[in-house]
Symmetry: C2
Subunit: 416 residues, 2 copies
């Protein structure tokens, strides 16, 4: 096997849309260092909002996306249990296009009523995007015209990961971040364009939804939003930043969102307007894993039905209010680029050399915040990522901010 | 917008690895007809093994992949509930590489002990394949050499769907179904080859695991198996056909399997041997949605822990025995190509013109079997797909076979 082996073909990869050499090379160094330094690879039990490791260290999670703490809401957990007992299975394995229990339909109907839309569920937002984007690329979801697929360069990897599949169905380009001029140029050149973008970025910030609406009106632009970081946390009945601000509610807008963050459960929602039954069937039958793989299980469905009920009442408004108050409290103490935004994520700027040590000290003081640093972000932009939640107490936030200040975070410019 | 629009660019798609025009064009006609004829699009409640539609029609599901009926096992459901109460959340949303509850680790440890392997969980087999195959393609999972990716032409769409992503990391070809000569040719030409194949096909039949083991020994071939249709149903402690028959238990074999079929829960297992901690971390951090999207929820984890316990005891052996007896009973009454195999799926041959009507008559008589016909399969190969389960009674199977015979199914050659 030895002499012959050396003569066999060695492959040069195209790397047009992805590059694992780079991703693994860059990312593994980051993660290895994070784990060695004790700011990743942590295992802990959750008890009444406090995490506790095997050796007894207790801390509050400030990097959890359950922004309203609905994940641990007793009604949500009881909803899951009720559904398990009612349906008697987590799933009765058969494609839903053939035979389905009413579980998914009930949830889709509930979420549809909640947000005044047509909703189709998926097991995760990643699965939704991996399934929907190639269908959009081929023109089977949309107005029938095969669009140029324009991926915002910062769009989440769950969307960017669909580029190779989309590129086999149409042309694919990567645009500058929120570059509306470039996008309009594409709209002038192509019969149809689809722009793929985060509704709310995972490092803070919203999509330019009003400017995009203008391009949608002018050119028939289709916009695909992943609004996972703002659904539930933002807007009437938790409809999310995009739905709350986007006047285009027809086939030109497709929004997906996880139910695993502020919504507090598992799964994802595909939120549609103006797509008829034909398109819904095309999604169920041909949107990748939506057709051939397992759906949300009944526990997730039951929890989601309970969370939807909470979204209909005053408790959601109260939780959003508490989240906003916590965000405001944090902003009154620590200065970040995101200060003043309704967005629950803050990146506390730190020195490249000391960011990990800072993260470790914050953790030892009883708070988990996630350090981001080179090579994951550019040199000079290191920081500690902080996520506010409704359930964090005033005292916890104040203590965190005291510790952050001690490890070098800039105090708010206009402290109260 | 009208005159200008016609001058804008129209795109011609490459269609090297996928073609939605064909998939949707062919598939939608099949599904529309199935739904119109009442043999798809059925909604029914499950009660003690019987499905009941809104208008009161009752039927037994003979197209469900829960081959051992573990999906409705009381201990499995109670396992889900116990875990929900213990962990208090379906998920506490944060990447597991940073902070995780012990839920997934406990399940991975349990499944690892069960099958004598290293196990990593995923939310679904589709997500596992979509994440792992590009990592294998780039050489980051395997022996470090970037392989030629050879996809069996019949491999499930959840694997075939990864071709475009893999093709950006290496060369990709599609081989004849189980064509060992062609595969050996590739092994002679390339430094490293990875063959992607179903362990157990969804239309019946197993991979040639012994022949593949020879190629693995001779050339260092890496084989990627999806053994979703045989795990739990086959082998000691339900290890599945591949693990039970494959002598190669090192980095040259990677097997994945859903936990959503015979295992009776939700999620999926990646079954590894001889991969160290470094590779496990690479999977958790870089195998697509395994790193950036939601994991199995705690209800699925708890149900799976309970199912794993059942797999350790005599009940699993009894259930496998009942499944095998049901398969043998069916084979004693109806002739199919699969007769005599331990595989729980049978395709009952039918006439192209009458297959849908036959499926409808069987459904009206109280049994759901799924008609497959042109354009989903070639003309002349239409049939009714039947899946046997441990929980179907002798009387139900006998009645089904009587009805199948009435609608034109060939009687077994050597009826008892």
């Amino acid at each position: 096997m030895t002499s012959e082996l050396t003569e066999r073909k060695v492959i040069t990869p195209p790397h047009r849309y992805r590059n694992n050499d780079k991703a693994v090379g860059v990312g593994n160094a980051f993660w290895d260092r994070s784990e060695q330094e004790g700011v990743a690879g942590i295992v802990a039990e959750l008890d009444n909002g406090i995490l506790r490791t095997g050796d007894g260290h207790e801390f509050v999670n400030f990097t959890c996306c359950s922004y309203l703490d609905l994940d641990s809401h007793p009604e949500v957990i009881e909803g899951a249990i009720t559904a398990l007992r009612r349906f008697g299975v987590l799933d009765h394995c058969i494609p839903r296009s053939r035979v389905q229990l009413p579980a998914l339909l009930e949830l889709e109907s509930s979420l549809g009523e909640l947000w005044g839309a047509d909703v189709i569920t998926a097991i995760s937002a990643g699965v939704a995007s991996a399934g929907l984007l190639p269908l959009i690329a081929s023109g089977h979801l949309g107005n029938g015209t095969r669009p140029l697929m324009v991926f915002d360069k910062n769009c989440h990897v769950s969307m960017a990961g669909a580029k190779p599949a989309c590129a086999d169905e149409t042309e694919v380009v990567t645009s500058g971040h929120h570059d509306m001029d470039q996008l309009e140029d594409f709209c002038r050149q192509y019969q149809r364009v689809c722009y793929v973008v985060d509704g709310a970025d995972s490092l803070g910030g919203y999509a330019p939804v009003e400017q995009l609406a203008e391009l949608q009106e002018k050119y028939g632009l289709l916009v695909y939003y992943d609004d996972s970081h703002s659904v539930s946390a933002f807007g009437e009945r938790g409809m999310g930043y995009i739905r709350a601000n986007n006047p285009i509610r027809d086939e030109r807008t497709i929004t997906i969102a996880t139910l695993n963050k502020a919504f507090g459960t598992s799964g994802a929602a595909i939120v549609l307007d103006g797509y008829g039954k034909h398109s819904h069937r095309v999604i169920e039958r041909f949107a990748g894993a939506l057709s051939y793989s397992q759906p949300m299980n009944t526990a997730a469905v039951g929890a989601s039905l309970a969370s939807a009920e909470i979204h209909r009442g005053p408790e959601l408004v109260a939780l959003q209010g508490r989240l906003n108050a916590n965000i405001a409290l944090f902003d009154s103490l620590i200065d970040t680029e995101q200060a003043g935004s309704s967005y629950p994520i803050r990146v506390v700027p730190m020195n490249d050399e000391t960011v990990i040590d800072a993260g470790r000290r914050v953790y030892q003081a009883g708070f988990y915040v996630s350090p981001v640093f080179f090579p994951i972000v550019a040199r000079g932009t290191a920081g500690l990522r902080v996520m506010l939640r409704a359930g964090q107490t005033v005292e916890q936030i104040q203590r965190l901010c005291t510790v952050l200040t001690e490890v070098g975070a800039p105090a708010a410019k206009a402290s109260p």
